[in-house]
Symmetry: C2
Subunit: 340 residues, 2 copies
């Protein structure tokens, strides 16, 4: 038998209204009465029923998070950042992951309808417009690393273009002219932007683009491993490989080692994301650092603000800066900087 607000009211000799006021800090309550109610409540181990509460309140104190089908550390870091901020604000987190195609995403969105006060959608593969159709009118949403910014949603993006540009520029600065890139999938927004940054840097340096240098990958370690074989077959051979993310860079390092190609002497390698293990690679992996957990925290903050304003605000687009982290895999850093 569940203990309800009525039980507390009866035991404390007051009305349910007063008990409610105590638990919500709404309206004035005599200090002594308040104390007694608290006492009775905790004795009875009373816990307000959230369903009933949100039925009338029209709030769930829950945020939804939609995650793409991506493996690895990036994923957990984002959640960590989100969850931390969410807990601080007494919200809850409804998570749905592993979504590949559009229909899956749409189904997941619909499944969350009515259960959340706002959503963080992380789905580099899909455009913003498509999402709007499946979301309840007026539900606050923050887009994380999505294409289609400016579609009326708050959005948060990594500076993919700038980060990739900076890394390519760094490699050029170290004397490389034949710089290859292992790209992500075409439909992935992050991947496209990184490719764009890479191309821009090469163009800026007056290096003619060579299509053989752009090898497709899919952000998995294996695709990075796999890409190396094709790259080594190109003549003249590239002297540097810039992978679209760290996972592929790690796969590439593995393949290069097996092929007997020394890094960085014979081939410079760089990644993107700077996941925690990057610095422990052999050799330590140069990368473009992204404050992943901060990304999650920032998204949550944005959502909280949107909820507070009841969605009545101009959607804002923000871009999170990246920083170049030079380690020895591209010959730029000393071994001592490996643990930096």
């Amino acid at each position: 038998m569940k203990v309800t607000i009525k039980d507390v009211a009866r035991m404390a000799g007051v009305s349910v209204a007063t008990v409610s006021r105590v638990f919500n800090d709404s309206g004035p309550v005599n200090e002594e009465t308040r104390r007694r109610i608290r006492e009775v409540a905790s004795e009875l181990r009373y816990v307000p029923n959230d369903a009933a509460r949100s039925l009338i309140t029209r709030r769930t104190s829950t945020f939804g998070v939609l995650l793409p089908d991506m493996y690895g550390e990036f994923f957990s870091e984002v959640i960590r950042g989100i969850d931390h901020m969410v807990q601080q604000n007494d919200y809850h987190l409804l998570v749905s992951s592993s979504h590949n195609d559009r229909s899956e995403i749409e189904a997941a969105l619909r499944a969350m309808r009515g259960r959340v006060d706002g959503m963080i959608v992380m789905s580099p593969d899909i455009d913003a417009q498509a999402l709007g159709a499946n979301l309840p009118e007026g539900l606050p949403v923050v887009l994380l690393n999505c294409a289609g910014a400016g579609a009326g949603f708050d959005s948060l993006n990594i500076d993919n273009y700038g980060g990739a540009y900076a890394m390519a520029e760094h490699l050029i600065g170290r004397g490389h002219r034949r710089i290859a890139m292992i790209t992500g999938e075409e439909r992935n927004h992050d991947a496209r932007e990184r490719l764009r940054g890479y191309r821009a840097a090469l163009a800026q340096a007056g290096i003619a683009r060579d299509e053989r240098w752009e090898v497709p990958g899919d952000f998995t370690e294996f695709s990075g491993y796999d890409a190396v074989a094709r790259l080594l077959a190109v003549t003249p051979r590239p002297t540097a490989i810039f992978a679209g993310n760290d996972s592929m860079a790690i796969g590439a390092l593995s393949a290069l080692r097996e092929a007997g190609v020394r890094v960085p002497e014979d081939m410079a390698v760089a990644g993107f994301d700077d996941i925690p293990i990057a610095r422990y690679m052999s050799p330590p992996l140069s990368s473009v650092h992204v404050a992943i957990d901060e990304l999650g925290a920032l998204a949550t903050e944005t959502l909280l603000q949107a909820v507070a304003r009841k969605g009545q605000h101009e959607p804002r687009q923000r871009t999170l800066p990246t920083t170049l982290v030079v380690r020895s895999s591209c010959g730029g850093g000393g071994g001592s900087r490996a643990l930096m």
Copy 2:
């Protein structure tokens, strides 16, 4: 203005009861009526209000997951396994992560009260008894990698002892006599069991235990990196390092490389968990494979069954087997097995 069951009823010219029957497959409804109601409902974009529903149903269709403060791939793999199974059964997932000490865990448990139909608790640091006190009476719970099995909860554990024993035995079989272990934290159940397995294998082989070989870590890459310095100072120097998890093994590999110690020629290295990147390490890392996503899926299945039986069943404890994966970091596998 939200559209409710009443609106649908009115538009379809029936009572709310009939609409309810259609949406719940409860009671008989004329086929034609059913069709009309479905049509009207989808036209109005009607979505049942979950709060109202669960207020009367006393079900939330939601499971809670409590995760420890652990980084890396292990985390995301588990969630993936859980989420997949949860979605298949039309449940939702409430996630709470980053919990270190007992008070944080207890707070998180309380926060979920009333919002979930069952919980998956993953908390190698804490004992089962402590959890029971903060959970509503009769709420189905599955313990994942927790100590205190047999405390009246369903529980699922990795075969930490067996896996560690097998790996140590393998190293011994390859002729190693001075085998060091980088352990996890004492309070961590997985860590304790793995240490126990390691010790048992050594004892079985008649190798006297040397305390200097057991260096404490905390499952982070850095702690593995850090441990190597101490291990290299031991005379005579150990010839093999068994890390309590892959993260520490990766840190150790990094430190060994910096120290100019060749792996596996001068030092064999092995880890535990077989996270996806293990095979891409340099050299590819031997490890104890655990089907992490399967662990999550299995936990969810157990929970679903418990919910179906309304918790009226004998708690069952299961142990997930592990398999030895020999790669070249311990000299056992050829380079060609790296992608195995």
